[in-house]
């Protein structure tokens, strides 16, 4: 066991978790301590280094923060049930009252505990996901969203996770479990944020989702964090018969950010689509790993990821699609396009297809490019300077995916923030043109 594994484990001892969570905690702890630490030869961690994590000495839990830290983070303006976590701790004063079906683990009654135990740690495979094992070992609190059969969650669930300087060099653990019963619907937005001040902490976040038969989840995971934060996270989803998962994710910030999406197509007729955007700059490192398991026939999956990598930043996109022998009539698509805007920027992109069924349609593509010269010339031929044309096209490259985001409030939140990254400040016009 490495020093980091050891000291992460010691943190679990400082928690006061309920007895009913102990079995999962112990299972997580034993997997975590038994795991060999990933190195350069570990395929799943080949292109990034975990050294920044290991260099964190004396791990401790993040402290409480005053409200100014929350106020410093602008929230998505949305009519939603809003839950605020600061440094991994639930902040009741700044959160909405919890509607039926939204339960903190620490408040769960016996029936709810049963439901949590039935699914928590079951969607994710902690043998294959090291940091899921750690998350299990660290379970103390978390949120369960449960939507009953044929019901629709009235308002979107918006979970804001704020990291503050008080958490500097400290640790936060986030856990979300979504259980949608047959025929139900929900919208969930996970927003990870920090203000601009240096935080330097470590966030380990894990979301497990069960989309029941014919149920539908619209899911967002927005990571807008400052430069030095370390974040390892995962979204693990089981889709049952005719279930639909529509996902959008965006990542910016962090000198080490690793996000896994694992989608298990377990019932026939299930569909998932996932659009992703990553925008590392300066010395940031962002690594997306997606894995779609097509286990049964007649499922469809469609992933589109785009990245713009600038300065000396680095990005990884690894998209695996695994079509099992039984999964005939699968339609699976994967596209990953990257723009490098500096000579020292780095992208490692790897579509990975494993197909064991013969009657499937599977398309994938990965490109790495500079901006299209014909488009640049077209803009310049209208009098637009080369610099402005470059920023318009860079933003346009990701704006295509933003335009497809179904929740208008998220488009409105992200568009000006991302536009400003590319030196485009005309927010008013942005609103006018998309109204």
């Amino acid at each position: 066991m490495t020093d980091f594994q050891q000291s992460a484990l010691q943190l679990a001892d400082k928690q006061q978790a309920a007895a009913w969570l102990q079995p999962l905690r112990e299972q997580g702890a034993s997997k975590w301590s038994a795991a060999s630490w990933p190195g350069r030869k570990t395929e799943a961690w080949k292109y990034i280094s975990l050294a920044p994590l290991q260099q964190q000495n004396e791990l401790r839990w993040g402290g409480e923060a005053d409200d100014s830290a929350i106020d410093a983070v602008e929230q998505v303006e949305l009519d939603a049930t809003c839950l605020v976590f600061v440094n991994g701790r639930f902040n009741a004063a700044r959160s909405s009252s919890l509607p039926a079906g939204v339960i903190r683990f620490v408040d769960a009654d016996a029936a709810q505990q049963d439901m949590i135990q039935q699914h928590l740690g079951q969607v994710v495979d902690s043998e294959r996901h090291l940091f899921a094992a750690l998350s299990n070992a660290w379970i103390e609190d978390g949120i369960l969203l449960h939507v009953a059969r044929n019901q629709k969650l009235e308002k979107p669930l918006y979970i804001l996770n704020v990291a503050t300087p008080e958490a500097s060099a400290a640790v936060a653990s986030q856990r979300l479990l979504v259980v949608l019963e047959e025929g139900s619907e929900a919208e969930v937005i996970e927003h990870f944020a920090s203000d601009a001040r240096e935080q330097n902490g470590f966030v380990n976040s894990l979301t497990e989702v069960v989309v029941g038969a014919n149920a539908r989840l619209q899911h967002y995971r927005i990571n807008l964090e400052e430069e030095n934060l370390l974040h390892v996270g995962g979204v693990h989803v089981d889709l049952h018969r005719d279930a639909r998962f529509h996902g959008f994710t965006l990542a910016q910030g962090s000198r080490l950010k690793r996000i896994d999406y694992q989608l298990n197509m377990r019932g026939e007729g299930a569909h998932m689509d996932l659009n992703g955007v990553y925008l590392p700059r300066n010395k940031q490192v962002i690594d997306y790993h997606t894995n779609v398991e097509h286990c049964v026939p007649h499922c469809t999956s469609n992933e589109v990821f785009r990245g713009i990598i600038g300065d000396s930043a680095k990005a990884v996109f690894n998209g695996r699609i695994h079509i099992h022998p039984k999964a005939q009539k699968t339609l699976a698509e994967l596209s990953n396009k990257n723009l490098l805007t500096s000579r020292t920027a780095e992208i490692n992109t790897k579509p990975e297809l494993e197909i064991y069924a013969d009657d499937v349609r599977c398309a994938h593509g990965a490109t790495i490019a500079q901006l299209d010269e014909t488009s640049l010339f077209y803009l310049q031929s209208r009098g637009i300077s080369a610099a402005d044309a470059t920023s318009m096209l860079s933003f346009g490259f990701i704006n295509e995916l933003l335009n497809q985001v179904p929740e208008q409030a998220i488009q409105d939140y992200l568009r000006p923030r991302l536009a400003s990254l590319f030196g485009k400040g005309d927010e008013a016009l942005g609103r006018l043109s998309y109204e």
């Binding site: 077209y378 803009l379 031929s381 209208r382 637009i384 318009m392 346009g396 005309d426 016009l429």
Partner: protein, 249 residues
Amino acid sequence: MLKISDLYGKVEEKDILKGLSIDVKPGEVHAIMGPNGSGKSTLGNVLSGRPGYEATAGSVTFKGRNLFDMDTEERAREGLFLAFQYPVEIPGVSNMEFLKAAVDAKRKHHGQSDLSSVDFLKLARETCKRVNLDASFLKRGVNEGFSGGEKKRNEIMQMMLLEPDLCILDETDSGLDIDALQVVADGVNAMRDGNRSFLVVTHYQRLLDYIIPDYVHVLAGGRIVKSGDKSLALELEAKGYGWLENEVA
């Protein structure tokens, strides 16, 4: 307005223009016709400064200045406009954002302040109407999913917004049906004000039924082989390009 003297130009190491001369005065409409491969599109691209298109000899002055002293965007701001043969689709950049950036760039160049978003929107909507484009096109990506005719009308709309001094239409009529051609021609004719000049490059005589040129030039082998008035276009239509190529040879 535009004086091209003995211009030679190449594209990717291939010599295309071989001693082309034209003098376009303010308010004049010049049509350039020619067979495929004669250098028609190369001319427009060289004049607008497209990368890969290089003038190797000769001179071009635009409003008295050496055109090649200016980069592409400065030529545009000074009033040179090229309507593309194949307008580019740019998904993700809204037409509105694109048009405002272009108009603002020109205004700034001439020492004027930016239009407010509201004023611009009003202007853009009016201009849309003039070329029979629905205002919803403003919100869409630049030329994204536009039909051929819509793309060409969008070019004319940009021309109207930018109010250039010299408009080069590069085969704007190719692939258009007659109704769309009428809209394009009406747009061009409405902009003829006695000062603005046009260089209309076309493969087909049909366009010149709608936009009546002052001069017609025939381009072959990279240079002008015959010039005349609009009757030359009709003669070409009747006899075909082969007639001239034989006559020149």
